[in-house]
Symmetry: D3
């Protein structure tokens, strides 16, 4: 195996799951999901530090790093049931964004092509472009819809003289045809960016963006229901992109462009769990965790749990599909499954 | 221009708006709002540090400091539409509270007298006295009502041998007649201060204080509706005083006297936006941001957004008044205005 | 008096209440509640630091340390009305868990036997075993029910080769008969621990554990109502054990095993206040506050307020019992009692 | 006793020494030294926070707070041998510098007049004026020399419109005649303040200021020897004023106006120990410790040890005077005294 | 003027010196030195954050930002005497290292060509390549020698697939002929990088690298004297490149690749002051200050003072050249010049 | 292999050296040194956190974790040349000090018995007892001398009711006969502990303790030379025990009982390198690194380098013994070996 390992620090895996090499599908045979690290922060417009995101998200947990995490809520083991493997990092030199995203897309595509769901740990949001494009490269242009949790639309145009940055991936995905604009759902936007011109571009492409004001007024669950329906309409799968800054800075201080007034951690965990349980997820990324700005690792812990809730939801979806049952969130913990 | 500049650090303005001199109305001709810094923490009874509040609130933002902030939620640009100017700081030596508040009141009054709304960045809450008194000096004693977000009533009597401190401004305002006690609305009180004697004094002056228990039981929106009706009854304008410690310490750790159990950042932003949109605001202060106790600047970011939400609300109020429209918080972001 | 004092730092008391010696009941004659420090973190499975919990919880308050805290919400003074005393710490060498818990239980029992309610400041959750067992030793095995706020069930078996640790106290209590499994109520569980085997053990003993998913789906108040009814069914009193990690890490970062997605500080304060007001509380502990991981003391402040809300609720319960009144959370602050 | 106690937090004493009341000399009968807290930061020109200096300096130690500290280096117990007492804080409202310094001077004078050496814990350096003036009030104007460790000369004129601030105390002392300019020795100055005019004023008053360049070039010990000779020439005692920022920010980050390039902690401890051993110290202050800017309490620990080294030096001086011996720093620890 | 301003935060200048535009020499006519910000951290191999170096180095000072800093040690005003101007930042997108260094070199060259000394604030050490190359472009290849303070040799070959990074600038400078290998002096190297192959390359090019072991054994002053002699042998000027990590992490924690065992802050300040006073400095950079990893800004303060000591040394060198005097470090502060 | 792995976090090794199992000597055949983690902080008398020492010391380095570290100063590769292996942690439950030290001693003894030098990463200083005792168990009681860097003598008697704690290991070693009192050398003691009784005990056993005053007065090198001569007199090997708090808190803030006035990082690195080069080291431990109290990992980085300097010294000692050469610290870096 020619595994690259990890770009920073010791060569560890997500909570101790088995190692694999993305270029060698045999090394992750049987895995429903393959974790990939994207330690890149060269595309961020403000605070850097997300290059250490993969390292911290992989290990921010107080339980044994044994490749097993039985969910209390869902009564499945997201890691073991899905035979999750970890392919280590793609080498991404933050000083060369263009080469970095090219190399990342190759790895993501290889995992998807081998039949596993790629789950990418960022890194700044620049990586959403190669992440979703890599999946679309396998499933077909426009066949993958996007549900995107974020405080920011990330649909900007050239910034700092570059087309490749954390403010632009969603525009790149739509312009390239990888994801249809009218199958692009955004949850949690707020604040003072982008300006009218970009909003017009977004409207023109049929995007559906849920700003926090609408979410508060209508309820998050109603918005998710509506978005889910769009996401599965004439698409073969859903890519889930979670920017940790969708949460309020009080819950996720360790990020580069914090925007006050976001979701609580509880809301985000419930939302991604529900989507992973209800929708056919074909790719995931969790981005913008910046450990240098974190306190007591609370943001890394949260991102680790976002990954686990997605995996638990996917695992329960599989199990329920197999035995024809349905999960009931009101059922008491000790009443069993 | 004899502008003082800023008391600490480089001479910057709020997110890059134009400079002006409060003593020279021509320097802010056309401005609907003038920002003023009050870098004073000599009145705090516990943790100091708010002297650096103006410096941090002015610049805690990851977007370009270009004097423009188009609101996603309201589709107006609070800074540009209101031609906001920044008059820099008033020199306030923390070791001389009496002189400091006198000088501040002079500046606030000058701005109000020139026809602009003063928006003061604290500093500790001592400054609410000169802030609201300066506005009342222009509009008339008792003609300005107060809506006051805070964990604390700030209606204390002599403390540390002084009448001028951050625990007393609201008593000073009422005793002096600047603001009527029965037009004094407080949102978010909680904890174990003040004691019965002061509460009796408050009740005796007809104040209406919403403790968090009532807010939780009845809903924040219902309380705001009730308070708004009182605020505009036989008054010519509303002063909005926002102590950042009205938020829970998890959302606003960088403050001097944190009291657990407060509002979320989302709730505060929605509340001040709504009030600024619905009521005739004639003065504003945002106080008690203490950067030395902050983490990753999240409290400064929040205070910066409190200012922007107030400005956006005021700008939208103007626009809707001009074109006879009404803002609908349930409208999707990309459906336009 | 042979008072031990405090194990770390100067010999202070909870917010300045009078000192006493647990081994000398005369020293706390008339006290309804006696505070006891349990500065032990030898039982924690991950981050230590809770040995400094008692020191910080006692003093994290910006008001004078004068032994008085009149509650705005309840209009009673929890400290003065209950004549709270502070017995200082029990010496607990973190390197000897077995001796430490034995010594703690002796002190707790002595306080209960003298007719006061022991309120223990942890320390890691290991201490819940001696805390509740010490009360049961006085009131009778199985006569005390438990309401337990926590992200974790703490019902584990041998860990690190030991039966005494912060993951096991609840199992110890049930196995020993001190508390009946079917009078054991848990609020706020979440995450990925324990595994199926332990859950079966818990179900087998009739425990009732409210995982966050159920709490979100049904509402916290409904769950508390249900739990309260069980707690007082054929039991003589309720022990309230509050692990600060039941709150979200955004509200309580200073803890050893943070699990994202918990209660807000407001929810916890309201919950413990309500239980203390409605139920016959016979013992309390507040645990897992780890100051080295805290920021700006916000977790210590929260724990201090958890103690005060419990005390205020107990004091108001007494007063209402005496004069036949009932507390109404919707009543405005300035309308008096 | 009408002891005020401490202005912030619980009423503790320096490492557990007995309490006393400065206004009641009987309460500290037999004490060679009385500690006094000056929790004032209203005079600082930049970062505040030193109001918490007394609280932190008193308790930043990992040993039992038992009023005893046997020095390894000097083989005396500075606390016990000198019967040190702690008079608590003087109430100093940071918003009223003039009243605060007046009240402080009264307390310092009372202690000196009662025959004890006042040792004042700051607070910002504003307090050096009342500290040394209070001693001179007792011993006579011009009869006390000053040895002043600091990065800054603190001889400025009116600042922020005030004569009372942490940049001016030394000018006040000289102008008032309390201390002679030619008996004013400064160690450790550096940086870019004050400017030529103030330096001329200083030269004109015969001050002797050792800038770090001279100290590095000639050696600290040589400079101390020279300064000591001046200090005892036609004076009756020496006041030792230690601004913690004389140390490099790497050793003392928790301070308001850090100036890189200072002494190491070791150098400062050795210097004050030596001076206290060799000279007739009649007053001491340790100032500018700002806990909000500290990390892991290292600055508070250092200040605590500065106090202890001064006390140990004084105690050894007494013992050697009594039995005619001399301390030899080269003597091995275990060879005994 | 088409000044770009600053890439992050408000548009400030170094301690308040006048603004200028590097592309318009008239805007800095008369300036001996022009400051330039290089907010780039895309080349760092480990912790990022130096993009915020220029912003913090410019303002980390507690004195007024008035463009004047009279040196106590040297009795000149480095800012005023040299008429220092600040050209703001060069836009440097961290995700495109190649374009960034090209643009930076153009700006540096323009400043040098206009007759001013460029003083560049980094950014990571990648920028030393364009910094020194830009000066050599004006003075001639090989006509500029280099004195380089650093824990690391920065002479590595391709890393992360790139030739442009913070581990390679010195190799680039020598290979390109901009600086002669035998006029390349390195002070303060230590640790475990680079390996033998690179050391051979360095030896082969005649470099002279002073590892800390040699510096401790021989004394820093002796090493500086030796290095200075080489630096001015058959060269027309000296470029001074100061990586803040040459200091011990205790003195400079805010950096990306901290290596224990370095110089003290005092040693570095004395060293650069001396070199600037004794040698013909034609270019300067101060790099690797990473604010996210700093505490209480001590590293930024230190870097600010490194800049000021260099400027003060240069200013005094000019003055002494003009009036034929010599600076004596042993002269007492108050004896005048 | 039945390797336990690591007690906290992912199973990593010291900078990537190969894994081994202490109970299986074949797994570390050929290794001159075996690293062992002792994640125990149950014996600390103040701040805990050292349980995370092994995890942090193993990985606090910005270079690739590839099991190779070529020393610039010594021109050997301590890791590769000595074929260092890492046996992971011994499970040490902090709540059971007695069992923990027993288990640790077994592992240390096994490594020594297999012919390798055990290098133990603490953990608090409690572990020095089993560390040195385990080596003596192999080499013979009294045949191993001790050189002990520390701010504290660690020769205390029963504390908190226990004989096993971080204040007592040296007494245990001497009383048990494992190490002779007159072959016990202590460097760097200072402060106010222990008291006269314990000092008498130490003197009575012939210990030689160098307090900082003596070290400053005589020079560290002279003291080390003297101590080295004693250490090799009638002993077969030297155990080197390095408590990181021997350094000044400015250089090593991340520790439990910081005592101002210690060695610089540079001094410690030079000292341990020299001893490892000159003396027959048979065991090493590096203790008291407490990551929760660290900043920017500077204490962990320092401890990592202490390990590397010891290993480099040992490797160079071997090489010089083999080829008859001698290391000269004055030799320029690029002159080769």
């Amino acid at each position: 195996m020619a595994r690259y390992g990890t770009q920073f620090g010791p060569d560890i895996t997500f909570l101790g799951v088995p190692r694999c090499d993305w270029s060698d599908p045999a090394s992750f045979a049987g895995a429903a999901v393959v974790v990939l690290g994207a330690p890149f922060d060269g595309g961020t417009s403000h605070r850097p530090g997300t290059r250490f995101g993969p390292q911290h998200i992989r290990q921010s947990c107080y339980l044994p790093h044994d490749g097993s995490r039985p969910s209390l809520a869902l009564r499945v083991d997201g890691l073991a049931d899905l035979a999750v493997h970890d392919a280590g990092d793609v080498e991404m030199f933050s000083g060369d964004a263009e080469r970095s995203v090219r190399d990342l897309q190759e790895a993501v595509h290889a995992i998807a092509a081998a039949g596993a769901v790629p789950l990418v740990l960022g890194g700044d949001h620049t990586i959403a472009w190669p992440d979703a494009a890599g999946v679309a490269q396998h499933l077909g242009q426009g066949r993958v819809s996007m549900i995107h949790f974020d405080a920011h639309a990330d649909t900007g145009d050239i910034e700092f003289g570059s087309l490749v940055g954390h403010g632009q991936p969603m525009r790149r995905l739509i312009e390239s045809g990888a994801v249809r604009g009218d199958r692009f759902l955004q949850m949690g936007l707020r604040g003072y960016w982008p300006g009218p011109e970009t909003l017009s571009w977004m409207a023109g492409h049929g995007m559906r963006s849920y700003e926090m004001t609408e979410i508060v007024a209508r309820g998050l669950d109603a918005c998710l229901t509506e978005a889910s329906a769009i996401a599965v309409d004439d698409c073969d799968g859903v890519f889930l992109s979670v920017d940790i800054d969708v949460c309020d800075p009080g819950h996720a201080p360790g990020t580069g462009t914090p925007e006050p007034g976001g979701l609580t951690a509880r809301e985000l965990l419930d939302a991604v769990r529900r989507l992973a349980y209800e929708l056919p997820v074909v790719g995931v990324d969790v981005v913008e965790v910046s450990p240098p700005y974190d306190h007591a690792e609370i943001t890394s812990f949260l991102a680790n749990r976002v990954v686990l809730e997605v995996l638990s939801g996917m695992a329960r979806r599989r199990r329920d599909a197999a035995d024809g049952t349905t999960w009931d969130p009101r059922r008491p913990l000790l009443d069993g499954r």
